[in-house]
Chain length 292, copies 2
């Protein structure tokens, strides 16, 4: 099937799934559940959940079976954005072209909505899969989202803001964990649901790591070159905050080259899968094209 | 064995377990892991983890097997305290006689340390139990800690602060979820680990609900009657914040009576367990004595 059509199918599945796999809109306390839905239903590329669905299919599973895990990944990603946007963190007013949760509601509600989405991610996994698979999925997500990975990356990102001599090694630690960890988890969770063997899981982990780094470098390039309307979030913010980015450390030219290298490495890892990784590869290529 | 001796044994197990079941102190990022340890190692009664250990024993299991789950419950409880203390929530400077995490570190670190402890709770369950038990424990904890229970209770608690006409029904919703949910989860998780049958799990759930309400009412009574030094946290804060409490709604006399009723109901539920619930019953009784 055509890449764009398949992508639309997957995204549509995700949008429908979000409604079905969240507590109903009027659930008590209504304000909390409204904030959870507001943040999750703000659109976005849905990259991570689409990766879960597509990877499950490549590995021989059904996309529908992967839907709760895809929702879990999106809940987790959304919680991290909500908390990241808070005044004590990035203090951002705009996300995907709309007021951030603490601007639309208030800080306390945003804090709790984030906590609730994080918790809901684990509930979705434990409630929708057979015990053995559920336990493996929880282990994967908890590890990727934990203090050594996603949250560790956010912490080092904050610490890096306060200094001017962030090294390449530190920047890579930040992005490997703040960005790549969840993309890696999306691919691995899709693989686990599709019944991938150990070799394929290792290949997916490698692909996720490179895809995550490529994705972050592309994000840095876009932050430096695109405008706020195109991004749907405040552009040039990283540079203004004096944040260490790939562009700041390596310049635009070298950053484009690095993005290309990581994309190629991701494609190579995906090519080693026994199934037809055509859609996944097209997805990686479409990302690279945004900045090439 | 004597109640006080057994309690000391359990608490010592918890203190040792906390060190063993957290990422090592120097783990990168060191600041994040220091904040997690700072908050967890602040002492406290360790009521919830002790309940997990003791209940597992009553139901025929070994307390040691219940240790990771006890740690999970304490990580989860501690995350909720860290986030609850933040400026956008209760804005508290003191917790267990020491500066709160955001006062000792900073707001962003406190936010992330809370997120990390919440995530770590699920990792502990998924990594330390056989798949079937792990999945059941994750389901129990995610439900108790989710948007309809723990976080829902915190949300309604915040909303109640802004109005003067909180009803008895609303107050009960808050405390059933903000406090009783995690105490119920502690008992049920202990039961699951100990291999309790359905009838015993139902009895533990009932006991947890009543014990949680008794505990919260006792907390309200102490907030109104004890001083800051005794409490290790700012006394009279609820009254000053205009918060709805049992004491405010029912007066001291009636609150003492309610606490007594819920303690008795918890004892009755515990008495229906096939095992020797002597220690658990003594624990409930020692709590009641604090305000009688």
């Amino acid at each position: 099937m055509d890449f764009t059509v398949t992508l639309k199918h997957h995204v549509a599945r995700v949008e429908t799934g979000l409604d079905r796999h969240l507590p109903a809109a009027g659930t008590r306390p209504a304000r909390l559940h409204a904030a959870m839905r507001y943040s999750l239903q703000a659109g976005g590329k849905r990259l991570r959940p689409v990766l879960v669905l597509a990877t499950a299919e490549v590995c021989g599973g059904m996309a529908d079976a992967a839907l709760p895990a895809a929702m879990a990944i999106e809940c987790l990603h959304t919680y991290s954005l909500i908390h990241d946007d808070l005044p004590c963190m990035d203090n951002d007013d705009l996300r995907r072209g709309r007021p951030t949760v603490h601007r639309q509601f208030d800080e306390a509600t945003a804090l709790l909505a984030g906590d609730a989405l994080l918790t809901h991610a684990f509930a979705l996994l434990a409630e929708n899969y057979p015990d053995k698979l559920a336990a493996a999925l929880v282990r994967e997500l908890a590890d990727a989202a934990g203090s050594r990975r996603l949250i560790g990356g956010q912490m080092e990102d904050l610490l890096a803001e306060k200094k001017t001599d962030t090294t390449t090694e530190e920047l890579e630690f930040i992005h490997l964990n703040k960005t790549a960890a969840m993309i890696e988890a999306a691919l691995v969770m899709g693989g686990l649901i599709g019944g991938a063997n150990e070799g394929s899981i290792a290949a997916l982990r490698r692909a996720g790591r490179h895809l995550g780094l490529a994705f972050q470098i592309i994000d840095d390039i876009l932050d430096a070159t695109a405008d706020t309307a195109t991004l749907g979030k405040t552009a040039g913010k990283d540079a203004k905050a004096g944040k260490a980015t790939f562009v700041r450390l390596h310049g635009l030219e070298k950053s484009r080259q690095l993005a290309e290298e990581h994309s190629t490495a991701a494609l190579t890892a995906l090519a080693s899968l026994p199934g037809d990784a055509g859609f996944l590869k097209a997805l990686v290529e479409s990302m690279s094209r945004r900045v090439s």
